[in-house]
Symmetry: D2
Subunit: 351 residues, 4 copies
């Protein structure tokens, strides 16, 4: 079985394990107050061209989303998200468990638009009964989104403007950020994110690390006492240096960007070859997740050797599924998958 069902099926980039092994018996301070965390934070600040940014390292995505959102909102405020957003559909109500509504706005491609955010917030305050309605306090976006789509620079800038206008925070979930920055259509970089967002994070779990998300806070209000929030939400790793060492390894020599580019290259190949086979896609995603539509019979056969994740039914005989590639995906795995898909498509199984 070769797995394309998620982008965290392997461990970590070998350099990370090597570094963890080399530093293993060193004694350090705990809870992220060690030298490695400091060095990693310095490096990320430098790459973001944001010398005042406050950097903290957390273990996983749900924990990071929840901690950031709960730390920013007042009790009666909610967070605006695409209805497809990870916090709205795949975190078992973690945000609600901290007392906050996820205000879900409709989205076909996983993205929110500046116009739709503006219209929603404007409408909120126009409503005479607005005190009876959850007040929008933050906008949550993912880049890439859960559907693999990305924000262009002008889109992010416009959203940022709307957020500032209405005094709501902008938070960008970068669990797959590397794959977004590495894709051909992208025109964003870390300094843009630091400029436009009040807080965002650089995902490690899906991009080369054993685990870990680097939170970058640029808004001073959100920096204050943030570590209290981390501790309270169970996210303060005792051996915090494990996070520092991993992010230092990923960023000191651009490893993060190199391994992201590898995934981008394989995703392009997979997408292009499937298109050549005549396969249609549920969504036009330029990053490491692709969503082909295949017949249920092809999928059944394919599933015996290749793991994918089921997305949704398209019609009686077809479904959309998701294939993920990652820093760890081997070229030969992608080739083998393509060979098998082609065979199945040509076998008359369809319908």
């Amino acid at each position: 079985m070769i797995r394309f069902n998620s982008d965290y099926t392997e461990g970590a980039h070998p350099q990370i394990l090597k570094r963890l092994t080399e530093t293993n018996m060193e004694q350090t301070a705990g809870y992220g107050e060690d030298e490695y965390c400091k060095l990693a934070a310095d490096k990320i600040r430098e790459l973001c061209k944001a010398e005042d940014a406050y950097i903290q390292f957390l273990v996983g995505g749900t924990q990071t989303n929840t901690t950031v959102i709960a730390s920013a909102l007042r009790p009666y405020q909610g967070v605006i998200s695409a209805d497809t957003g990870h916090i709205n559909v795949h975190e078992t109500g973690a945000v609600e468990a901290t007392g906050h509504k996820v205000i879900a706005l409709p989205s076909a491609d996983g993205k929110l638009t500046a116009e739709q955010i503006d219209a929603y917030i404007t409408g909120h305050y126009k409503d005479e009964a607005h005190e009876h309605i959850v007040q929008p306090g933050m906008v949550y976006i993912s880049n890439p989104t859960e559907y693999g789509t990305i924000y262009k620079k002008h889109e992010l800038e416009a959203i940022s403007k709307v957020c500032k206008k209405h005094q709501v925070y902008l938070f960008l979930d970068g669990a797959r950020l590397g794959y977004g920055l590495a894709c051909r259509e992208n025109d964003l970089d870390l300094p843009h994110l630091a400029k436009y967002c009040d807080v965002f994070y650089i995902g490690g779990t899906k991009v080369g690390a054993l685990f870990g998300e680097a939170v970058v806070i640029t808004n001073d209000v959100l920096k204050k006492d943030f570590r209290y929030n981390i501790k309270q939400r169970g996210g303060m790793l005792a051996k915090g240096r494990l996070l520092g060492i991993q992010f230092l390894t990923l960023f000191e020599d651009n490893l993060y960007f190199q391994i992201s580019a590898h995934a981008a290259m394989l995703a392009d190949r997979l997408r292009e070859r499937l298109e050549e086979f005549g396969v249609k896609f549920k969504i036009d995603s330029p990053t490491n997740q692709i969503f082909p539509i295949l017949s249920d019979k092809v999928l059944e056969e394919l599933g015996k050797e290749y793991a994918y994740s089921y997305d949704c039914r398209i019609d009686k005989e077809h479904s959309a599924v998701r294939f993920c590639v990652s820093w760890a995906t081997k070229e030969e795995s992608v080739e083998a998958l393509l060979v098998r898909v082609e065979e199945l498509l040509n076998s008359g199984l369809v319908g």
Copy 2:
């Protein structure tokens, strides 16, 4: 600087890093549903002689405490804890953040007694206004406690009985469990814990792992949907196999017990030698944390080379501090510390 200030100053036992490296590029299912987690769970069930126990692996202690407690209580219930309990004093209100009061009972040595629990719960229901008071729903104890003391078998059995009588759950925090089981005074083992507790955990973070706590649930009510709780509280590690591999390594050949014994031996040596020097202790703790009382002048000098953690002031010129040893502590480090303490004590610095 040699660190005795906590029991998580190093990485992991080398066998763990070796195993993580060997398995690194294997592809597995995520979220703890891989083969390594299954094998580790099987092994722990076997060691607990509890074939129906439900085992889940979480990353850290605060997260585990919060997830277990919040999963067990009804909204109007609280958890009884020693006032010195970790959940009451050192988790930034994580339990309260899930909506539950920590009902703190006084404790001089970090332990609760069956009598005091019984009296409290009996008193609760005797109060005519008990509906206006948080209802006790669970008892939380740590073994070893935050003061390094341990429960004897008859004490745990008595507490278990009281909990069953009043239909409240018994939860044992075993963040330092290895060091408790390894100490000379101990008469408990894993099957006892599985028998007397509704849920407990075996700490990895402080005993050889990079991170990780193995939760053992024996009460059927608490098993149901426990993984929903883990996900909601941000504790479901994407690459869950990292936990499975670590606990498998710790338990398949008794490594956990061996490295705990190493710490127990060093703790005994440290304690006995300090006693020989005439040092008094704040508390008589038989495990890997010891709490000597030293003069502030000695402490100031000592602190230049050896890290300890400050506990409390004893009188104008003396304080109690905490020294921790662990699986990773070197004999020569303990020796060096003892030499230095003896020097300082003999130097006329006292007072």
Copy 3:
């Protein structure tokens, strides 16, 4: 200004004030443990033909919804509601503030169907990743709904069946229950509600009382410790007898049903006459709230003398608004409103 903007613009039915005055200097036990609460509960049990029902009296609707829902759910569970449901849109996230997601299903008329509930819950458990998704634990419906529509007996029975099949609770918000039971299309009565729902409430605030909602719990699991929940959520009125006296007055001689019938009669008149004027409605609501579509110019004029509540824009020049009648509405007020609407419609203002 004559107000039709809500159904709580006046105080209470005069018999209630009279009764409160007569009993004013009596001394009673507090917190709803007085004789009046007992008598009122007995009466309601009798009317519901549910001798084991557990009755508690709360002050207002949001408080009641929140208390009931939070008392029933496990932390990782959510409550299914029509997207138009009061808990989803008009309670400032009170349910989320207790940690639970409102799972909003689409509804055009304010109602949920048994089929749509069944499909949602079935889909939840079919999803491989269901542990990452909030688990449905309760279904919340309102009768009448926020759009004035009502459930027929067969619909409620079907929903009840689906809830039992999936082991989720059924909770009916009866803030306007009197107006539902009194309307011509209704075929439900209190014993039906007690039979089909695990918990429901009979609204007093909008139907003759100064304030108050009578919660009727038929499911034994939900009865246990319910008063702890009331106290914790701030809903336990010190002088609880105020609720007992009001509900006793409303139910001992059928006053509740008589005053509801008055409102039903006026609502019918208003609806029929507007239809005669050629007015269209946003929704076909048979109860005390009606939603006519009028031109913005007519509305502007009308609003100078008659208060209504704005519902939504229909097209560039027309909006839907809401008129409420209640137990307190005078016939002459409805007549005056109708005369004025007719004048305005005939004045050539439209468009």
Copy 4:
């Protein structure tokens, strides 16, 4: 049975019921946005000599305490209270249910001192691990306290100073405020409270109203969006005018102070006469709650005709109990009680 067990055994002052009856069929806006609420707020602002104070009316004490505290704190903050404080012991964990720890400081008489608050907060920030400990964000005091004691002006001023120094809010629970202001030892008035507190409330439920607490917010930060918090916590009364009318009646002609003085007079008489009988008190309380120590045999007999509330056991044969008088207590009831106590004391029942 004559009840002295609480200060809310009757309805409301007759003038309030009269006023509610007179205004009953007036139509007003809902949710506290009516003219009566405005007038009552104006009157209270005038009495407080605080023209910028923001006034809102809530229904009950627990709800008010919870709403104010949850609206003020950040998620990782707790509220400092005397361990005897109402929020710590008699609200079923309502504050914790909003996610916040009650930081309980020891108190023998129900009061906190400026010194003890200062020491606690100073200690918090001195602790190296303070990020692991709930951060104090507010101080909660009651005046009178749950033991009937009161703060003198210099004490309140000192506490206010400490709170400002550490930038924590000062919140005063005035559920029994009238009885505090009316007692002989008192040297505080409403303008002092408005000056020294960031937020406080004037209790109506226990002082003449059917229900209701008037929240006075003087700190601008706490004013913002406070009504969202009220709605979210279930405290926004639909017919808000009921609160406005009650507080207007209580304050427009000093009724609140007159009826409080009546209770103060009766409390003094009860206290003095019991002292003459040789009765000792658990605590020296100058307000409407008194805590005599009586033999269990006397209490048993007394309890057949006079309701009191049990406080605590003093020794094998004696207990402290609480007698409350209020605006509604009749002189003859107090006389009858005293006669009966004297009889019992002289009957040889003691011991």
